[in-house]
Amino acid sequence: MADPLLQIKGLVIEATSYPPGEPPKEVTLVHGVDLTLQKGRVLGLIGESGAGKSTIGLSAMAYGRGGVRLTGGTIHLNGREIRLADAKALRALRGREVTYVSQSAAASFNPAKQIMEQVIESSLSHGLMSKTEAEARARALFKKLGLPNPDTIGSRYPHQVSGGQLQRCMTAMALCPKPDLVIFDEPTTALDVTTQIDVLAAIKEAIRDTDVAALYITHDLAVVAQVADDIMVLRHGKMVELGETGQIIHRPTQDYTRALVSVRSLDHVEKAPAPPILQVQNLTARYRGTNFDVLKNVSVDLPVGQTLAVVGESGSGKSTLARAITGLLPPSAGRITFAGRQLSADLAGRSKDDLREIQMIYQMADTAMNPRQTVGTIIGRPLEFYFGLRGADREKRVQQLLDQIEMGKGFADRYPAELSGGQKQRVCIARALAANPKLIICDEVTSALDPLVADGILKLLLNLQAEAGVAYLFITHDLATVRAIADKIAVMFKGAVVRYGQKTDVLMPPFDDYTDLLLSSVPEMEQGWLEQVIAHRKMESAGN
């Protein structure tokens, strides 16, 4: 075999962290990772947050982001050692031999410059081609990546095109100087699911046609399975497993990899129909000062002790529905009936019991807890407020709740900043449970969490439902989560419910066009899935 394009040996990466109120300390992000990439191959780097995957990816350009230092090992690119190369040598290879596509193209494009100027910049500054040649190549790439108006889109400014389009423009920017290696750093993570699939397909085709090698970094195994030849699984800055894509997703050898592969397989058998605890009838709402309805004539029922999943992409109105039910956004028409009584439209008109029986859990547990209150205060306040519990009684009940969320002793005196992401979300669940609610509204409660942690939260929610008989209104954009938890499903699109019913019915063909698009866009852990989906689509994605 020929010399590899990229060979990393014993890579050690360190950084200085600044914990609040403590002296700075040195932390090691990557502990001796080896990696080899041949010309024209695609290697997927996968792991949860803190696995060091982006840090390793950027080391292929000998770049440390935000004070990160490449302190040990060797990095050979095209046969040259680059970890210790001087600034001039690095400038010569960055943007020429290796290029980079970031997660947020919207932030990575200079807002003050036209797209074309930025796409061809490195080709010109490295003297690779003339301006005419570079522009022609850029236009050809725009076309290949499926951008609308490929001949004129270059003259637009970044804020004038959509997020999905900008992500493709950034891919064009990376491919324009004909590099040997492109680093894709979570390029589709920030996109809606139906847009993600288009961008993913465009990137895959461009990689294949230009015969470039790539490092593809993501936390989503199903996504990387579509584009990578090989996959490296990382955890806490160490390699867990390396193998060919088929082997990793079908025959993983390590427990951690097996857990990652099986994470979406949680399945939930729907419960039999039951009388509703919550009825939403013909709800229409708009925000003050706007002139269009964000909710259009929405009607759904939620049976006692069951889960209604509300699914949709950003802008579908699913979170607005939650705000209307809680009373934060009084609807302009329609009615909400809860436990047999009609709820007042606005918050001020609701009784203490109305408020107590409907609780809410948020997407970002970080901002949902007051950083200056201890876990004991956070969970204890509803006990005191609704039930008048004080002193030892309160402490006892707090500990019971902590046991229920599987956190055990010693947490009541801690502050939110001392908890992990999953623990924070569990405390938020305990705070909701403390009120003895009949309904908990869960707004994207797992989407900010790593897959394994999210899995644990879903299992906990299901257990609590079985024990306490609480109903969930579960808002999410992720269909895998829906399968795992829902009894009923409402699919929302542009403020209206387009499909609604028992889970099995909703997920059973024939589908309406939008539900079909949404369902088919969820990446499946199967090689070749992407091509099949693209070939069979009925509808262009909604938001690109």
């Binding site: 350009m61 770049y63 982001r65 690095l90 400038r91 010569a92 290879l93 960055r94 943007g95 020429r96 290029t99 980079y100 970031s102 947020s104 932030a107 990575s108 494009f109 200079n110 807002p111 003050a112 410059k113 930025q118 910049e121 490195s122 500054s125 490295h126 637009r156 400014y157 804020h159 004038q160």
Partner: protein, 318 residues
């Protein structure tokens, strides 16, 4: 109408409205404060008849709103009334002094602005390293100095330790340009010192803010040289915040000028204002106060307008 034009018209209209409101506060607000103009002129020993006479003569018995509109009409036509203390025409007195103030502030601005931007760039380029620490340390101290304190240290240094300048700044009509420059050297040094610190610190912060953007990393990962990155990618986005910083600090100059003129006995608007505050000569104070307020509001408006013009999102709407 192009959205950017609309925004600019809105901003300018807001500025004019603000100026009108300020003029009302300067006139009517001051009326509402406890204090009696006639008493102030004649002193505590004045007889009631004398007070009544003076009030009648000055039109103080008219309703305040009527007098405000008379005053405002006068301001708009260039008639600022006469000073209580010596009966001199206020517009005329201001005319001569305004030029002197402009000359002083202009000299300070011409030196301070480029110097502050340059130092700000250097501090941002070497953020956290010694050039930054030296510059930031010195400016932190000068920020803590009121104008007159800085002035006396400068006077002491340049008239006693290294006697090369005069401690007073006398300018008079017919003086040559270079002679004038020499005369204002010390006050200019003081003003530069005072304005520079604020302007430099804010410029540094504005540039550092831009340098932390993701698109700067993109540019670095394209293999561009540091100068190209700053020149082509940072500068176009830093213009608006830096201009806004510069304008904001020109406003500090407005305040600085008042004090510095008093320190150096420089015959201009600030000294004129302070003099007449001491003498409780209200018409003069109101007129000069309005001029300072107008300059300040104009500078802030200019900063916002340039900010609007420099924003690519507004210049190239969807």
């Amino acid at each position: 109408m192009h959205p950017i034009l609309k925004l600019m018209v809105q901003r300018i209209a807001l500025g004019l409205l603000l100026l009108l409101a300020v003029s009302a506060v300067i006139f009517l607000g001051v009326e509402a404060l406890p204090g009696d103009t006639a008493q102030a002129i004649l002193g505590q020993q004045a007889t009631p008849e004398a007070l009544a006479n003076l009030r009648e003569k000055m039109g103080l018995n008219e309703p305040p709103l009527t007098r405000y509109f008379q005053w405002l009409g006068g301001v708009l036509t260039g008639d600022l009334g006469t000073a209580l203390t010596n009966g001199a025409d206020i517009a005329q007195s201001i005319g001569q002094r305004l030029g002197n103030t402009m000359f002083l502030a202009g000299c300070a601005a011409v030196i301070a602005v480029p110097l502050a931007i340059l130092l700000g760039l250097i501090a941002a380029r070497y953020a956290g390293k010694w050039p930054d620490k030296v510059i930031s340390g010195i400016t932190l101290s000068t920020i803590s100095l009121p104008e007159f304190v800085a002035a006396y240290f400068v006077i002491f240094i340049f008239t006693q330790l290294i006697p090369i300048f005069q401690p007073v700044a006398m300018v008079f009509p017919g003086m040559g340009f270079w002679a004038k420059l020499n005369a204002v050297a010390l006050p200019v040094i003081v003003l530069v010192l005072v304005v520079l610190a604020h302007m430099m610190r804010m410029t540094r912060a504005a540039i550092l803010n831009v340098m932390q953007s993701a698109y700067i990393e993109t540019a670095e990962l394209k293999g561009l040289s540091p100068m190209t990155v700053i020149w082509r990618h940072a500068l176009p986005n830093a213009i608006a915040p830096v201009v806004s910083v510069v304008m904001l600090n020109m406003a500090y100059l407005v305040v600085g000028v008042v004090v510095v003129e008093v320190v150096f006995g420089y015959n201009a608007l600030g000294q004129y204002l302070v003099d007449h505050v001491t003498k409780r000569d209200l018409p003069v104070v109101q007129a000069v106060g309005l001029i300072f307020a107008a300059v300040y509001i104009f500078l802030n408006m200019l900063a916002d307008v340039i900010g609007i013009l420099a924003n690519p999102r507004l210049r190239h709407p969807k």
